[in-house]
Symmetry: C2
Amino acid sequence: MRAAAGSLEQLIEALRCLPGVGPKSAQRMAYHLLQREPARAAELARALDAALKNIVHCRRCNTFCEQEVCERCASSKRDASQLCVVEMPVDLNMMEQTHAYSGFYYVLMGRLSPLDGIGPKELQLERLFERAADGRVTEVIIATNFTNEGEATAHYLAELFHARGLKVTRIARGLPVGGELEFTDAGTIAQALYERRDY
Amino acid sequence: MRAAAGSLEQLIEALRCLPGVGPKSAQRMAYHLLQREPARAAELARALDAALKNIVHCRRCNTFCEQEVCERCASSKRDASQLCVVEMPVDLNMMEQTHAYSGFYYVLMGRLSPLDGIGPKELQLERLFERAADGRVTEVIIATNFTNEGEATAHYLAELFHARGLKVTRIARGLPVGGELEFTDAGTIAQALYERRDY
């Protein structure tokens, strides 16, 4: 299709795969790389090649890693009874930063999004169910985002885990730490009220 | 002390009672009122007088009102078994906007703040305990802010209500509706994890 395009046009087109990069930015990037940073451009090409070759998904938690099983999943210091399901590796990192969780993870690498054609099959959810059925996991903590898609994913997973007889919990909605009612939206206050806890 | 000051100086000084108004703004306001808006300045004086004369605290919920008992507390349509404790009238308004609560309120008109000399006596907390002991309230929902002072107030109230044999709950902390882990602080995620709920 694009056989007639020269190398420059192909590079510009290729740069558009980067998130938020339109035709104009792509053109500017291409000129910049070729004119001013040829060495670093070559480095980028090598890094992309190496990453594509070396980085795989951890066989247990599905996150990016370079071994068959990632360091976190190979650790013997974590609590094998808890499995926390998150959407993306960045969410796993956020959970780790809390220092409040010592169980294992499963990274969906996405969320159910029927409009984008992402269903249970595309997310390979059977891998998650297999992981949770290791006989040691007693609680699945669903930590998908509280967006529409994240909530729908949570609901779908909860139903299927329940059917498998597993205890399923969901991280809480409510006011943020330090939050004041005056500056919080009504939907969040309503949830905080609905999910109120015994003191 | 300020007997020697003229009316203008006294007005400027008086305007500084407004929140966020320093000497310069107060001066600008005074000139503006006297030069350009004398009629509205007179109106303001009257409104202040009338408000100070007519507005009292509701005998039941302690919010501002012009009758002995405010309209909300006089309503027979609300659930008398729940009493929600908030810091300020603005918080009561936020709770009402959720349309998720139909019980009664108690407005502390502040929070415990020992550094500012505000203790249980200054908040007249015995009025709250009296209100909660009407024999119909079975649950006290504490909806003070999640600031340090709001939390300390919640803790203090919870202890005293427990001692009186009342069920005490606290609105939830967690991620806001629509919230994503990636853009949430670690403290809030840790709380959302700690306060996770059965799905």
